[in-house]
């Protein structure tokens, strides 16, 4: 087991190397450049140097005059030492900016993941055990609606109904207009109320696929011979479903949940942008558009690390729930 994990981690580092190389190359090739934008701004000031002069000077000071490979190696050196540099766009250390925005994204991701699991798994089981009944049709149809809804469309509908028509929530932002005047409890509640719509959007949009997945797996398991054996033993229907069948349905579900670990930290770009929530998704989008290489590199490598870790965790969990899988 330990050997296996060590081996996997070494592999992951190897993969990470290539992932970051590709990301770095892509970013350097992007048509948007922070330096160019800055050069235009500076050269338009009265009495300043020409655009090309500024560009040359800035390129040299930001290290963009070097070839891609050389730039990558120097980035990698810093990265390996834990030195992630300063964000160009936000003009603060990358880590500081990251820390200030990850919290809200993590809270949103975690709450919507928990809601997703709590809603999708029981509904999936109900739909499977009552296959072709009215409740199955209702559940399956709404799951399909959830899957088919694009995030931006659904978020806009929610805003229209709950913010514009009913006026229950604000349309944008994380805090209300009179946030500063509220006491601690009020501030907390204010933030919570601003997170309701984004979380609802995230949950509804992603709950459908997990539910259909649970339903399909449960149906497959319920038709298995060992379920018939369990019934033949005289077990009650509840025990057959929640003990014998559910343990087997859990096996594929674990992969999905393990794989959604990076989703907790990656933020939700579209949802955060639509609701103007200063989360990691929104901020990294701004950084990317501005051509902020240090922040974007940090964010993307971070997601890559999480994805690799998520895969490793789901593989280990596989062995925990399925005795037939032995890790060696």
């Amino acid at each position: 087991m330990r050997n296996y994990i060590v081996k996997r981690i070494l592999f992951s580092i190897f993969i990470l190397f290539f992932v970051t190389l590709i990301i770095y190359t892509l970013i350097r090739c992007l048509p948007t450049s922070y330096v160019e934008t800055m050069a235009i701004q500076l050269s338009s000031k009265p009495g300043s140097k020409s655009y090309t002069e500024w560009l040359e000077q800035l390129n040299a000071s930001y290290g963009l005059d070097r070839p891609i490979l050389v730039g990558y190696v120097s980035w990698l050196k810093d990265f390996a030492q834990g030195n992630f540099g300063d964000s160009w766009r936000f003009t603060v250390p990358v880590i500081q900016e990251f820390k200030s925005v990850i919290g809200v994204s993590f809270v949103m991701g975690a709450i919507s993941l928990i809601l997703e699991l709590v809603i999708a798994i029981p509904l999936g089981i109900v739909a499977a055990t009552k296959q072709y009944s009215k409740s199955d049709y209702i559940i399956s149809a709404s799951a399909l609606v959830g899957i088919s809804l694009p995030t931006f469309f659904f978020a806009t509908i929610l805003k229209l109904v709950f913010s514009v028509k009913l006026g229950w929530f604000d349309t944008h932002g994380i805090v209300g207009r009179n946030y500063a005047q509220l006491d601690a409890m009020g501030q907390f509640l204010d933030k919570c109320s601003h997170l309701v719509l984004p979380i609802v959007t995230l949950t509804i949009v992603s709950v459908g696929s997990l539910m259909r997945y649970t339903r399909t797996n449960m149906l497959e398991v319920l038709n298995a011979d060992y379920i018939r054996t369990a019934r033949a033993k005289g077990l009650s229907e509840g025990k057959v479903i929640y003990r014998h069948a559910f343990r087997n349905t859990l096996i594929p579900l674990v992969t999905i949940v393990g794989g959604s670990l990076p989703g907790l930290f990656s933020g939700a770009l579209i949802t955060e942008t639509l609701f103007s929530i200063p989360g990691i998704g929104f901020v990294s989008y701004q950084a990317m558009v501005a051509g902020d290489i240090p922040f974007t590199m940090f964010y993307l490598s971070f997601i890559a690390v999480l994805t690799l870790a998520g895969n490793l965790i789901s593989d280990i969990l596989y062995a925990v729930v399925d005795p037939r899988v032995r890790i060696a």
Partner: protein, 421 residues
């Protein structure tokens, strides 16, 4: 020609109409079964013969599929006496397994439903009609009074639980009162030893995937026997096993039956196994019983042309044949059963009357019953079919009965016919 086309093809409208009608029927039946707190008097009954463990009486089990209603079991009546083994034979899809699943109420729901008839089960001090019982009540019979050994040992055990836990579960459920965890474990180990598993302590902690097919089948048998059931249904328990293991499993079942004195309903299409195990034999064809009797009746005096065909199609030691006999044709379409004898189209011994409605049961002796027009008037149908008459005469001699002379000629005849077509 046009009719043939229509038979295989179902228009969308028709299919929808069928599934709507099915849903109506099955919903009603399901509702009835799902009721809670049904008074016991509703399904209490009396055995016709108190020496029987199970009596199937005119059982009809239908599957309401989208292609139409499949009458898997259509009026089956037979009984399983206490302490005896009844073998149920027939080719694949003739309703053997469905009959036994009806007894356990383990049919695929909601499509599979017992629509008519009684299944009387002797519980010792009382008798119940399983066909009328709600799900809730049947639960307490399963594993306790009736248990089942399934035909697929490889997939019949839950892959995520340890062997010991799976057997413990049955014991705790039915016999667990006043037993500590240690007692239950002791009983499980004892059961594992009883079915001939040497390393019982080790197997107790193993997962199903760590055992071979034969071992798993033994575990299944141990599980089925855990609570000393009155009736054991063995649904082709040896089909998935090789011959040596098969012999061991059969020996095991026989010795265990004597030990706990239960009745076995043995389902198989292996005539050799039936000859070895069964006291009584029931031959099924297309959801109906065509012949039933003691093992001797069936093996030495087979009467129904289908039984005779079955006997002829098994290989005989010491006789060289190029090609084994097989009954010509195939089982009729289960959705549209003919209204005459189901075997008529494949039968080589048809008489004029065979075109009439399905023949009813004729007694050849107190134990031997057959559904065939050849035995309608009197006992000897010489005047109708010379081949059959010859066979009947040969049947007088038990020693020769297993391979009556005319049977082999019938077989040869058919082989020629088969080659031509």
């Amino acid at each position: 020609m046009a009719k043939k086309k229509a038979e295989g093809y179902l228009s969308g409208r028709e299919s929808r109409r069928i599934s709507r009608a099915n849903r109506k029927v099955t919903n009603e039946l399901e509702k009835k079964r799902k009721r809670k707190k049904v008074p016991e008097s509703e399904y209490l009954t009396k055995m016709h013969d108190p020496d029987n463990a199970v009596e199937f009486d005119n059982l009809h089990t239908y599957f309401f599929t989208d292609a139409g209603t499949v009458k898997s079991v259509d009026g089956v009546s037979f009984e399983v006496p206490i302490g005896k083994t009844v073998g149920v034979v027939g080719e694949s899809g003739c309703g053997k397994s469905v009959t036994s699943l009806s007894l356990m109420q383990l049919l695929q729901r909601p499509q599979g439903q017992v629509v008519e008839g009684e299944i009387r089960l002797n519980l010792g001090d009382k008798a119940v009609d399983v066909a009328k019982m709600p799900y809730e009540a049947v639960q307490h019979l399963r594993g306790n009074f009736v248990s089942m050994i399934f035909q697929e040992p490889m997939t019949s055990l839950n892959p995520v639980f340890r062997i010991g836990d799976q057997i413990n579960e049955v014991i705790e459920l039915h016999d667990g009162e006043g037993k500590s965890k240690e007692d239950v474990k002791k009983r499980t180990i004892e059961l594992l030893e009883m079915v001939g598993i040497a390393n019982s302590e080790g197997v107790y902690r193993m997962f199903p995937h760590e055992l071979s097919g034969g071992m798993r089948q033994r575990v299944c048998i141990a599980m089925a026997l855990a609570c000393n059931p009155k009736v054991i249904i063995a649904d082709e328990p040896t089909t998935a096993l090789d011959v040596t293991i098969q012999a061991q499993v059969l020996d095991l079942l026989r010795s265990l039956k004597d030990k706990i004195n239960s009745s076995i309903m043995f389902i198989t299409h292996d005539l050799g196994v039936i000859a070895e195990m069964a006291d009584y034999v029931v031959v099924m064809y297309a959801g109906r019983i065509v012949e039933k009797g003691t093992a001797e009746d069936i093996f030495y005096h087979p009467a129904h042309p289908y039984t005779i065909g079955l006997m002829a199609s098994k290989p005989v030691v010491g006789r060289q044949v190029d090609k084994l006999y097989s009954i010509p044709g195939k089982v009729p379409n289960p959705v549209n059963m003919p209204d005459y004898c189901y075997f008529k189209d494949r039968c080589e011994m048809c008489v004029e009357k065979c075109g009439g409605e399905y023949p009813c049961e004729v007694s050849l002796s107190p134990t031997h019953k057959v559904s065939c027009y050849r035995y309608y008037d009197g006992q000897m149908p010489e005047d109708v079919n010379p081949a059959a008459a010859g066979e009947k005469a040969e049947n007088g001699d038990p020693a020769e009965g297993q391979k009556p002379g005319d049977l082999s000629t019938a077989a040869d005849k058919d082989q020629e016919g088969g080659d031509v077509s």
